[in-house]
Symmetry: C2
């Protein structure tokens, strides 16, 4: 559960899902996930469905306690094949995340057999906002309902949708000392997923000079001016909109579930 | 420069102001002040006026470097008489802050002969937002213009205004372990300085139960759901609106300044 707009990434092999783990607090200062994981650890009934077992998990309790993104290193950049195969962790998991080359997949999703990642926000660090929390709760429940219906054999018909594919990560302008020399322009702030046209302002220097987007095509910026991404030298992530046909989905014949957990 | 709505506190003895210090980065993750102080350290000309010397100052460089509120202890709670008189600091300063008993004045303003404190926001921690920064910049310049006009002998006539006087600090509801058990209600979120009437919801539990404001009078909450105030056990600060007549202000006779710095 992360800091920006919601995105659903799913990769499904069409076999029964019998165990679901719901992680919150992978980053200890993203409070919607922290508050929900803590609540579900005490009262997990909301997560249960007929066809699978669901378990909530507070991913990084030490970072949660300190209310920081992480303590030693960013947990959601620690799930690389290298670290996972170093012997310090062993989990029966496979990498199914779409669009990230295996060598670059360092995210929590890398340890899930099937993963569904919800990114909500922008949400300020260290604050539990009722509106963001409520939306995350709805989305988690919607995901669980989906798995439950899938397990029960429901067919999901093919449909068309837009997705936003990462093009590049754009850093803040910097001076010769590497210090940030311009801030995100007020016209770009809070405009996640809004088309950015060539020639539009993206940064302002402290002397009031506007810096313009010099690309040749319309892009869709997201993760704009994220507190957590200053250290990663990312002012925003530039994406392109792609229209996709999503194939129909149905449980493998013979694997249907009869509505109760086996 | 702090995390919530702007408030101007001034206490003026009507004598010439010859030196002005502008602090930013007292809290290292309140980025508008950090960015402006850094900029003014490089380019201080914007701060200069005819009648006084102005100096920018990055108050807590270590916290700024780490992008945290503070490192060991909250710097803006360290300016108590006890700490100031312990010998570790010595500054020729007096306490002129209105409405805070001397023994409780632990804020930066305590070391200023005359202080003008700008609180802007809410602003998310660790993010430089162009809109907040621009407003803070305007307010700082407005404050400097005011001092300059005052030094030049301009008379500021008496006027009437509303102020918000602190009534109490309200904690989040907590369970028997001391853990927060309810979050700020969506109807209160972002409603700083908006009247809160008896019976209106202020918190929501994770089970969806609304908790109502059980006071008997209208109050004006502020610093609502501040990230930095979770550790201080403050969900919001309850204030009352008071209508005040502010007396006229003019430089003492004989102390007029002739428009150049002496």
């Amino acid at each position: 559960m992360g800091p920006s707009k919601e995105m659903l990434n799913s990769a499904c092999q069409c076999s029964l899902v019998s165990r679901v783990v719901i992680f919150g607090g992978t980053h200890g200062n993203e409070m919607s996930g922290v508050a929900l994981a803590k609540h579900w650890l005490k009262e997990p009934s909301e997560l249960q469905r007929k066809t699978f077992v669901a378990e909530p998990c507070l991913a990084n309790p030490l970072a949660v306690e300190k209310c920081v993104r992480y303590v030693d290193s960013d947990l959601n950049r620690c799930f690389s094949e290298e670290i996972l195969s170093s012997g310090s962790q062993s989990m029966p998991c496979y990498n199914y995340l779409i669009d990230i080359p295996k060598k670059d997949n360092v995210y929590l999703q890398n340890i899930g057999k099937h993963s569904l990642c919800l990114e909500l926000g922008p949400q300020p660090q260290g604050v539990t906002r009722a509106d963001v929390l409520s939306r995350m709760r709805e989305l988690v429940n919607c995901g669980l309902d989906f798995i439950d219906l899938f397990n029960q054999g429901k067919e999901f018909p093919s449909f068309e949708t837009d997705i936003y594919r990462v093009l590049s990560r754009v850093d803040y302008p910097r001076d010769s000392d590497g210090e940030i020399s311009a801030i995100v322009h007020s016209g770009l702030q809070d405009k996640d997923y809004v088309p950015l046209k060539p020639g539009h302002p993206i940064f302002t220097t402290m002397n009031g000079e506007d810096l313009l987007y010099d690309g040749e095509t319309v892009v869709y910026p997201t993760f704009i001016n994220e507190a957590a991404y200053y250290e990663k030298k990312v002012a925003f992530i530039s994406t392109e909109k792609v229209h996709l046909k999503v194939p129909a989905l149905k449980l493998e014949t013979g694997a249907e579930h009869n509505g109760t957990l086996q």
